[in-house]
């Protein structure tokens, strides 16, 4: 086992070195909006930029549009030379360029647009209240101050502070995608930005608490529709397409779509691995993202595994009892239905269905949702593992026990299960390893698991290599420890018989 661990470490180390030595990115070839045709263009999935650039895709010149979940990922791809340009809103573009000296914004702007908050069509009263609040903070200059605090020469000088003595009653939940500086982004683990402050000002005016939920940009409208969030504020432009599904508040600011490209003059090697490591993990205690993620991943995987064992055990006993004795027809039917559905659909879709559909309008802890989703999913696989273990026991064991007058239940408990459990242990361990790694999709419901923790760091530092490799290493170590424990248990069970 140690040998394999060493080999795996070597692989990761060589990856480090390989990335360090890789050749420089290609030169910029986009100098105006007209040059975009025929190039690889990056956008954030579901944004106005996405809609606008999609027209290029059909112009026959071979334009490719790469759609990223986050603006940060598009910027990263641009830096690495995977794409030629990124079309994005002007303010985030400015902050991206500020932190990435090798990028620049083309002078020519792409298009102008209005930002507004999206609100469910079923909540006209909420829309009216928000519009009233918006009018007030526009009229008294609060909104201008908030915007000036993030954009322009006086940035940072006029932070928004909630007035004292506000009586708060109830909570407004805001859906956003916190990778859109300066509208919303993580700062010291907290979501801040123009939208966040504006929403706070609105909540203060309405006398409510504000809770900000971070999720993928294209999930925001779904979240607002299903009632997971009361409104969405994420630099969202009002479009005809969106109006079909959702209502919008009054406009609170206008923005432009611009094109970011690589600056040929400024491209240079950026920092060594040690610098990068410091920046990725030590600055602002960013390692906390990994730690929080690790804690959640372990919690989810552990509880889901327990739940999976319980479900799997019950299902396996019902199914094999049916197979052996022909009883429990209804139970067997239900179990088969469960197995077919769970094994026939992707885990990620199940997770999203449980979060957005089943618990759509209920406020529920995301970790609990993840435990439920992964537990129910794992149960199906564990059930089949247990069942194969039970069916692998020679029928003579049942017959011998029956001939002694032992009931089916007693036969199961004292004769069949102890043997079956030992037989299935390796397969069971494998299922738990798969489960542990599968929890990495928890990020899709906006839960900070280990993978998502690394993602957040990547979105802040624009370094893909170290966060991903560290996350991979942590998973690897967990799996190695788990395998070692199982091996020990297996040996102990076997020594009983020798």
């Amino acid at each position: 086992m140690r040998k394999y661990m060493l080999a795996a470490l070597c692989c990761i180390m060589s990856l480090f070195i390989l990335t360090g030595c890789k050749s420089s990115v290609p030169e910029n070839t986009v100098f105006s909006v007209d040059d975009l045709s025929g190039k690889k263009i990056g956008v954030q999935l579901g944004t106005t930029g996405d809609t606008l650039v999609s027209d290029y895709e059909e112009d026959g010149s071979g334009t490719v549009v790469e759609r990223y979940n986050k603006g940060n990922d598009a910027i990263l791809a641009l830096k690495q030379g995977k794409i030629d340009a990124v079309v994005i809103d002007v303010q985030p573009a400015q902050s991206f360029v500020k932190t990435n000296s090798e990028l620049m914004i083309l002078n020519e702007e792409f298009v102008t647009e209005d930002y507004a908050m999206c609100i469910s069509k079923n909540k006209p009263e909420l829309k009216a209240s928000i519009n009233e609040a918006l009018n007030v903070i526009k009229a008294n200059g609060t909104l201008d101050k908030i915007i000036d605090n993030y954009i322009g020469e006086n940035a940072g000088k006029t932070p928004y502070i909630s007035p004292d003595g506000v009586k708060r009653n109830g909570t407004l939940v805001m859906a956003t995608n916190a990778y859109f500086k300066p509208y919303e982004y993580y700062d010291n683990g907290k979501i801040v930005g123009i939208d966040a402050d504006m929403a706070q000002a609105v909540a203060d005016y309405l006398g409510m608490n504000l809770k900000i939920e971070d999720m993928e940009f294209d999930s925001i409208i779904t979240a607002v529709q299903s009632g997971k969030a009361d409104f969405g504020a994420a630099g969202m432009t009002v479009t005809a397409e969106r109006l079909k599904n959702i209502d919008f508040s009054d406009t609170y600011t206008t923005s432009k779509q611009v094109v970011i490209v690589r600056d040929n003059d400024a491209i240079k090697n950026s920092g060594n691995v040690v610098e990068k490591f410091k920046n990725d993990f030590l600055t602002d205690n960013r390692y906390q993202f990994v730690l929080t993620g690790l804690k959640n991943t372990v919690l989810i995987a552990f509880c889901a595994a327990l739940m999976g064992i319980v479900i799997g055990f019950v299902v396996a006993v019902i199914r094999s009892t049916h197979d052996k004795t022909g009883t429990l027809k209804i139970g067997n039917f239900i179990c088969n239905l469960y197995l077919t559905i769970i094994r026939g659909t992707p885990t990620m879709v199940q997770l999203l269905i449980i979060y957005y559909v089943i618990f759509g309008s209920v406020s529920i802890n995301k970790i609990l949702v993840a435990i439920l989703a992964f537990g129910i999913n794992s149960g199906a696989y564990v059930a089949e593992i247990f069942r194969s273990g039970i069916m692998s026991i020679d029928n003579g064991q049942f017959e011998a026990a029956s001939s002694l007058g032992l009931s089916y239940k007693k036969t199961f408990i004292y004769v069949i299960l102890p043997q079956a459990f030992k037989n299935v242990l390796p397969a069971l361990a494998n299922e738990f390893i798969v489960l542990l790694k599968e929890t990495s999709i928890s990020g899709y419901i906006g839960l900070t698991d280990l993978t998502r923790g690394g993602d957040i760091i990547r979105s802040i530092t624009y370094d893909a290599m170290l966060p991903l490799l560290v996350v991979a290493l942590v998973y690897l170590v967990m799996v190695v420890i788990l395998s070692a424990l199982v091996k020990k248990l297996e040996r102990r069970l076997r020594s009983n018989e020798r």
Binding site: D394, G396, Q397, E399, A400, A401, S402, S403, L404, G405, L406, S407, K410, Y414, V415, P418, Q419, K422, N496, E497, R498
Partner: protein, 250 residues
């Protein structure tokens, strides 16, 4: 009919037993009675249904038609508690079927203790007694896969005996054994027979059948073709089927 059933001397009574697997008829219209103290050897060509017959007697095979009475109770009746009846019908299998997850002693103690027929202590005592009887006192705490085939079968006999059964069913108890181990198992069975245990033995050991049994059944073509004392059956076969069979096996 019911007079016969209530007779204390009759342990098993089989009436019109029929067994069908799919559309293959294995047994048809089997009628017989087993009295207390009888040792019955069942012989016949392979596939003649002799094992199926034996396994029907404790309902490991469900008869398609017919009735089987154990001490006058119809065990084919749906409302009968078959587990309770099986406690008194011991069975020994061709492949031993010991529980590999328990020691030899625990194999013997499991049923008496779990069925609350004996306390842990009593069962322990009984197990050691039986192990001594089958000559395996030193193996009490070993696991079955450390034993030879002959030893396993002797443990299996002890396990069945632990329930103090009224009748013992042996399903080809020596067929899976190496030749040099057949003797030790047959010795135990013979000793058991001499102690007055009622038993039915499906076997291919003709010499043993002749020596131990006081009745012999020859199964062929879905029925009991011939039934007689071993001496008569082996020395004076009536049907060509039996004559043919004996000429091949003797």
């Amino acid at each position: 009919m019911s007079d016969n059933n209530s007779n204390d001397n009759i342990i098993l009574k089989v009436e019109g037993l029929k067994k069908v697997f799919g559309d293959h008829v294995v047994l048809e219209n089997i009628n017989t009675t087993v009295k207390k103290g009888e040792v019955i050897a069942i012989i016949g060509p392979s596939g003649c249904g002799k094992s199926t017959f034996l396994r029907s007697l404790n309902l490991l095979e469900k008869p398609t038609e017919g009735h089987i009475y154990f001490h006058g109770t119809d065990i084919t009746d749906k409302n009968v508690n078959i587990n309770k009846l099986r406690e008194k019908i011991g069975m020994v299998f061709q492949h031993f079927n010991l529980f590999p997850n328990m020691t030899v002693k625990k194999n013997i103690m499991l049923a008496p203790v779990q069925l609350k027929l004996m306390s842990e202590e009593e069962a322990n005592k009984k197990a050691l007694e039986l192990l001594e009887r089958v000559g395996l006192s030193d193996k009490a705490d070993t696991y079955p896969n450390m034993l030879s085939g002959g030893q396993k079968q002797r443990v299996a006999i002890a396990r069945a005996m632990a329930m103090n059964p009224d009748v013992m069913l042996f399903d080809e108890p020596t067929s899976a054994l190496d030749p040099e181990m057949v003797g030790e198992v047959l010795g135990i069975i013979k000793e058991l027979a001499e102690s007055g245990m009622t038993m039915l033995i499906v076997t291919h050991e003709m010499g043993f059948a002749k020596e131990v049994a006081n009745r012999c059944m020859f199964f062929a073509d879905t029925k009991i073709m011939e039934e007689n004392t071993p001496k008569e059956l082996f020395e004076n076969p009536q049907t060509p089927r039996l004559q043919d069979f004996l000429s091949k096996v003797l």
